[in-house]
């Protein structure tokens, strides 16, 4: 039996008196596509930030392919093979679409190979129009795709997507789901999303976060039927 791709034990993030992530034990196997759901403030984005080194965890371990990466610098974690799309589009606004992707691809490739990787990713995310357009002038949905493309161009082994379908219309959500499924053929993913329709299109297994802890973890249909999950989403006190 091989070690899991990602494994956290007792991962905790405190801000003063607030515990945003509370002793989370989380395991992701190689090749998995996992969705994280939970009400606002459940700690999903904070969990992502700890995983990628943007926040220093207060306690606990993060093992990626058996290596402890908790507290490493963001660039070191990225080099280890984890890519992330942040909740609000985080792109190089002043650069062109192609330059955004190229910077990601060029880190571990030579110039020629980087161009090839960029072409491959561009054909997957299939942005309409010229790729020389400046990213800052694009619409919100398009910038989301540029960011996903940028993450892909870095060729990570694990991709974290924080609300990839937020602010998209129905067609765009469908396209994004297609892209996510295509990515999953070669790469493991963790996806934070609120849009249940989107989750149904992509989901495999779902982990539910509430108040910083894992409430439950199961297949999508089981999660949707669960009374506790309904309670936390409707704001009732979970008994």
């Amino acid at each position: 039996m091989t070690a899991p791709l990602l494994e956290t034990r007792g991962l905790t993030m405190r801000f003063g008196g607030v515990v945003a992530v509370d002793a989370v034990d989380f395991t992701l196997e190689e090749g998995e596509l996992r969705c994280l759901i939970g009400p606002n403030g459940a700690g999903k984005s904070t969990f992502f930030k700890v995983l990628t080194g943007q926040l220093l965890p207060s306690a606990g371990t993060v093992r990626y392919r058996g290596r402890d990466i908790a507290g490493a610098a963001p660039h070191a974690i990225a080099r280890a093979g984890i890519g992330i799309k942040l909740q609000t589009p985080s792109v190089f606004n002043g650069l062109s679409i192609r330059e955004n992707l190229w910077l990601a691809a060029r880190r571990k490739n030579g110039a020629k190979r980087a161009d090839a990787v960029v072409d491959g990713v561009l054909s997957l995310i299939a942005l309409a129009g010229s790729t020389d357009r400046i990213v800052g002038t694009l619409a919100h949905g398009q910038r989301q795709w540029v960011e996903i493309g940028t993450v892909l161009a870095g060729e990570p082994d694990l991709i974290l997507l924080d609300e990839p379908a937020a602010g998209m219309n129905h067609d765009e959500v469908g396209r994004t789901a297609e892209i996510v499924r295509a990515i999953n053929r070669t790469t493991s993913l963790i996806v934070v999303e609120h849009d249940m329709a989107f989750i149904r299109m992509i989901s495999d297994r779902i982990t539910v976060f509430n108040r910083g802890s894992v409430l439950m973890e199961d297949r999508a249909d089981a999660v949707m039927r669960d009374q506790r999950v309904r309670d936390v989403y409707l704001g009732k006190k979970a008994a």
Partner: protein
């Protein structure tokens, strides 16, 4: 990447033109003008150092004067101690680069904000001024060079070539300064087109994103800062050669402020802007020196205020944008293909 290739070709062509002009200049102008042009060009090199790290790296250094001064002093001290100029010229870049590496390590690896970077670099410059100012007397000698405190170092030897022992005449200093400007300009263009340069610009655009792609922002900022320090040091060497003299006033607030003003009015995110800004302001300061009514600080301060309030983008980017807008309007007015040209706004400069 087509745009980059095209722009590089244009740059090389312009550089070639500038080299020819610089080569012919001594035939057409008198020695006095040539001397003045030499110092303007030296200052343009200094402007490029800040134009690079601030305009492209987003690092607001208020202390470029520190590296400029260190370069000047390193050359002067070296020139008294070595027979030919190879080592002094290398020192004039190496010493500021080492200093920049040390200072940059503390600033960037301490992850301090842009505002603090400004304050610290400014403070360092002021302290250097105080230190060098107090090095009068025989106790402060490096080899056979006396630092001279507030009096500075007079009669600094000029460039002497190795092996032949040829000593430079004023025209040679002009060729050297103009050559340095062209080499630094083209070199920075190439650097910006390289992988390294692109990452530096990307970090200015979005530091978090760059680090999440696996680039260490601290390292790239530090390297850019060191490159800027070396170029400023080279400018200091050229400046010292021009006057055969260097004094602590080079570390003064006035120098630092002027560098900021050159880059600010020329335009951030361009290389030609700082060069033009440096020449324009120096012409202006020379003019002010010739009259009694207005004080130079007063005029420079007013210019800086006006630019921050009215034209924060600087002259070159504003003109570029204006020309682009006019060109689009001209195209639209003409009958032709119905398809409207795609808008290509210039990259917005997120500076703060």
């Amino acid at each position: 990447m087509i745009r980059t290739v095209l722009s590089l070709r244009v740059t090389l062509l312009c550089a070639l033109g500038a080299a020819v002009l610089a080569g012919l200049a001594p035939q057409f102008v008198d020695t006095f003008t040539l001397l003045q042009a030499t110092v303007f060009v030296a200052m343009a090199v200094l402007a490029l150092s800040l134009g690079f790290i601030w305009g492209f790296g987003g690092i607001l250094s208020f202390g470029q004067a520190a590296f400029f001064g260190l370069g000047g002093y390193a050359y002067a001290v070296g020139a008294f101690n070595f027979t030919d100029s190879t080592v002094p010229v290398i020192l004039s870049m190496l010493v500021p680069m080492l200093f920049a590496a040390l200072l940059g390590y503390f600033m960037f690896y301490g992850r301090i904000s842009n505002v603090y970077v400004g304050v610290i670099t400014l403070t360092v410059t002021l302290i250097l001024f105080n230190v060098v100012n107090s090095t009068a007397g025989d106790a402060y000698r490096i080899g056979s060079a006396a630092l001279g405190g507030f009096n500075g170092i007079p009669s600094v030897p000029g460039i002497t070539l190795p092996f032949t022992g040829y000593a430079f005449a004023p025209e040679d200093d002009w060729y050297l300064a103009a050559g340095c400007l062209i080499v630094v300009f083209v070199g920075l263009k190439l650097l910006l087109a390289s992988h390294f340069g692109r990452v530096v610009v990307a970090i200015r655009e979005n530091e978090v994103r760059a680090s999440l792609l696996g680039y260490d922002p601290r390292l790239y900022k530090l390297l850019a800062f060191v490159v800027g320090g070396g170029i400023a040091g080279l400018a200091g060497c050229l400046y010292t050669l021009w006057g055969a003299f260097i004094s602590p006033t080079i570390f003064g607030l006035a120098t630092s402020a002027q560098i900021i003003i050159w880059v600010m009015i020329g335009g951030l995110g361009t290389l030609i802007g700082p060069v033009l800004g440096a020449v324009a302001i120096q012409v202006l300061v020379t003019e002010i020196g010739g009259q009694q009514l207005l004080d130079a600080n007063f005029v420079l301060g007013a210019i800086l205020l006006v630019f921050v309030l009215v034209l924060p983008a600087g002259v070159v980017p504003t003109v570029e944008r204006g020309v682009a807008a006019l060109w689009r309007r001209g195209r639209r007015g003409r009958p032709g293909p119905a398809e409207a040209p795609a808008a290509h706004p210039l990259p917005g400069k997120a500076l703060s």
